[in-house]
Symmetry: C2
Subunit: 350 residues, 2 copies
Amino acid sequence: MNLNIALLPGDGIGPEVLAQAVKCLQAVEETFNHNFIYKEALVGAIAIDKKGSPLPDNTLNLCKESDAVLFGAIGDPKYDNNPNATVRPEQGLLKLRKALGLYTNIRPVKVFPTLIENSPLKKEIISGTDFTIYRELTGGIYFGEKKINKEGTIASDLCEYSEKEISRIAHLAFKAAKNRRNKLTLVDKANVLESSRLWRKVVAKIGESYPEVKLEYLFVDNAAMQIILNPKQFDVILTENMFGDIISDEGSVIGGSIGLLASASIGDENALFEPIHGSYPQAKGKDIANPIASILSAAMLLEHFKLFEEAMAVREAVDKSLKKGVVTPDLETKSQYGTNQVGDFIAENI
Amino acid sequence: MNLNIALLPGDGIGPEVLAQAVKCLQAVEETFNHNFIYKEALVGAIAIDKKGSPLPDNTLNLCKESDAVLFGAIGDPKYDNNPNATVRPEQGLLKLRKALGLYTNIRPVKVFPTLIENSPLKKEIISGTDFTIYRELTGGIYFGEKKINKEGTIASDLCEYSEKEISRIAHLAFKAAKNRRNKLTLVDKANVLESSRLWRKVVAKIGESYPEVKLEYLFVDNAAMQIILNPKQFDVILTENMFGDIISDEGSVIGGSIGLLASASIGDENALFEPIHGSYPQAKGKDIANPIASILSAAMLLEHFKLFEEAMAVREAVDKSLKKGVVTPDLETKSQYGTNQVGDFIAENI
Ligand SMILES: CC(C)[C@H](C(=O)O)[C@@H](O)C(=O)O
Ligand SMILES: CC(C)[C@H](C(=O)O)[C@@H](O)C(=O)O
């Protein structure tokens, strides 16, 4: 298969971990006889520094022309504590999601048996956990109108959803549940928010076309408890943008390391793959960042193009690195392996 | 001391648990020679059923005239899954918070050593946890303009904050931090939301008047992880309404039981005390609901009026019930004690 892959390393540890994912894709090309073409472009804080924009035009164009985007990470502390900054790295990612129409963010949460002891949660609570979060990614309060009055004393953000925005992701989530354990949990705050009530109405209606899927509702505050109290109860969780941001990061704790979690952002015409973790600037350039989340993003990319055998080869190589302890220090304090060595080991085992 | 206390039992298990809190207050009256006058009124689903409104006028008037409100719980499943209901029990609570100006919700999260094994989290992660969440309670997306178009296909909620709304609770939170371990963590999403950037700006400015307090910032998605990964790092958490709803419920899991957690909602002229848990309709009338959160709400009420010795007597009686295992089945599966017996035991030990 021929694939054009846009590489967006971004900020912080982004470039380091992305490089390992590319190594693995190259190993896949060789082993399975594919031809992937990689083109790199700037995004985030580094793009602001070099081009004055967190998403330069040529970056966006490259992504549009490519079959898929592999993304590193975004964000820089110099912008975080400056409420007056008018350009921010995160805008690059948000604009990219919107411009590519990536309305569905898929975040699988699974426990790796070899790492179960790393979790802050008790083994009996988490073992066997296997759910996927479908987070809406191009609507809601992230993209609603933002206002600040002239005096800078009143600020607002609008959370708006349309039936169409809800139904397209809802169909994907129901289909995913059908291929899994037939359970879908809608997380919302319908007892308070008008937009949540629209979610509940639209999703209930669509649910009628998927009679085999059991549809449940959970208020987001309760969901924030249930994910820790009993994560095994979930199969597919469907939710809006902001709630999805919060509960998927919360869910990432279950497996014991956010450094292992990948995500896919899917639209009707484009797809982007990225780790869940951020740019982790403190670790930048130290060769200590865990590359596995980025490598597993590449596996999700392969699955997106139905290269299931190839993806499995990547996943098995990752499992091997975990079993053999060829991992970065975040997973094993006394580990001697760096980002690069872990990437090499996994690529060699594909 | 003379106190007029409005009792709002509400729905589900509300009346059962509130009755135990009143028993304890009566024990305090006797032991310490106070005179509390209790007046009861309807709120929530039961108020809709009996009076057509979740917050009837006479309920609101009673609360306004009283020195404090002791609240049970609110909510009924018959409203939750009906997106077309125009009157909802929760509106009663929201309207009450707004009408009484209860802009600060204080939710302490502490681990009871006797219950540490009940937590889904590992002992070494949670032991020693002791933080307090200051949640803004009368602003933000809960109270912003709600819209739905004629066709019912587009819905929105507005999240708006003013400098004044932020600064009044921020001062309380900084003062609390000063009396504790001098650390304040502002939880927001300033990398995306305009309202969060206003929070950051206002809180940073106010922080200058509290130089002894170390101010830190955390994005809400990261906060949702940190609360589980390392809850001991927190002292006082300050946040807006919706984020506070989510992360305080999440935090309630740490201690192993939401049935133990109380909260105070404070304004310039009024104060309301309630458990964090909901109306738990499945348990209604079964004499199995845990009354401790409600009883500890009463302790917070006493502290609010500087009756510290009295509050301590209540807390010590609660500790005794935990140590002796006089607890409801949610805390000890084989327990033979019901709601009433636990309430009696605690009241007798005051
Ligand atoms: C960087 C930030 C804008 C982003 C988000 O909140 O969507 C990140 O937290 C994520 O979850 O992908
Ligand atoms: C009942 C509901 C409206 C309420 C809220 O979200 O504020 C509750 O969850 C709480 O946290 O007190």
